[in-house]
Symmetry: none
Subunit: 239 residues, 2 copies
Amino acid sequence: MRYGAATIHQRSPAMSEGRLADKAYSRIVEIIKVEGLDVGDRLPSEVQLAASFGMSRTVVREALIRLAADGITEARRGAGSFVKSRPSERLGAHMSLDDLSVTLGSYEVRFVVETEAARLAALRRSPAQMEAIEKAWTELRNALLSSGPAHIEDMALHRAIAAATANSAFVSTFDHMFCEVDRIMRAGVDISRSRPPEAIGAMMTEHEMIVEAIRLQDADGAAVAMRWHLLQGRRRLMP
Amino acid sequence: MRYGAATIHQRSPAMSEGRLADKAYSRIVEIIKVEGLDVGDRLPSEVQLAASFGMSRTVVREALIRLAADGITEARRGAGSFVKSRPSERLGAHMSLDDLSVTLGSYEVRFVVETEAARLAALRRSPAQMEAIEKAWTELRNALLSSGPAHIEDMALHRAIAAATANSAFVSTFDHMFCEVDRIMRAGVDISRSRPPEAIGAMMTEHEMIVEAIRLQDADGAAVAMRWHLLQGRRRLMP
DNA sequence: GGGGTTGAATTAGTCAGACAGCTTTGGCAA
DNA sequence: TTGCCAAAGCTGTCTGACTAATTCAACCCC
């Protein structure tokens, strides 16, 4: 937008945005949403995007690489970048039906898989595995308290619980389920931003109960706590 | 059924693709595995990797961006790129365990996933889905009666039931689980060969009960029948 | 006029070099 | 030994140029 008369490219003076590529990523997602681009539609070329963003082609390219890795766009050499699947809209409000149904569908599987995983983890967890769970829980708590995005730490805790079943099939299944969901979460708007403060307290309590039950080797308690947590999670997603 | 890196980064499964960055991606994964790099360890710098690969820093950088997007590595400005989670773990391949424990482990997951799938299938199956189940069941019955190998037809029936949940997450999870089992079936001993005649009758009855319950839309009946079937299946595998 | 060919324009992929800003490290001084 | 600072090393970003693939329209032959 800003193309000064001096024609000199201004080096960004510590915009505190961290990384320009993140900004470019968001702005391209924005373009897809605002412009109403559908699957198969073509994005502006890398040079056009770079010009309109006031950034170099390098950062736009990094953003496109990550968008492609997230399955949102697809680059065809000599042709351009194309929309492969639409990024999710704001959670709760305008999330596209596709992504919402995928997420809700995966919750149906998570209910049974993770509830059982929590049960088995309570029965079988080794001291080392318990330590890993405690560590993941501490990190999740810190992330929640700092009001930043926490879904990575959330996932890490659930994964540590799956690992404590001493059954790699649970970890494998867990990773498989989250391959999809994780992409949607990262592609869409940050969840934590639309997370009300009271939900943070609830999430902390829920996780605390799960970890405590596993700590006490209370199988049924862990299963119930996990089931409750997942139920609340789904409700937070779709009231 | 897919294996390997295709689970994470969804590029063409064909090796040695035209794009250099794909090669760089694979070679970095290789480095992590061969070098035995653990979580938190540092990778060689971008310049070093580029030099050792004989590529430009640009392509190495693209590979690292995608590795970061896949959650395998993490780049810290001024410090370097670090391993965030081991590729083999993210890929969900548990090759280290012996076949029996893998199979028994996958049964623990199947118990919960398939029991719930049968429940939901009984509740939601459309006429077309019921027809597909009946068809798969007929083929399984024929295969069992002819005393030939029947595990492919068996899997097809269970998959049709998963599809009848109207939730693609169940089908996806089912396919994922059977990646492992299928490998064992092909590599290990053929189950059908060591199957006594009386087991054939039992398997037919068990499947008949499941299909009948889904036909009658009896959710609890379907769940119980599936659970019983899986219990018997595990006992047949490990008396 | 119709159909196949060609070539120019457009675009992603790759390369090389440079600098800015952050982290780590090692040496020097108190 | 402890504390600090400068230098080295790293990623992030910018620039400009070249390569290879795609697209599309003008063109030529039939």
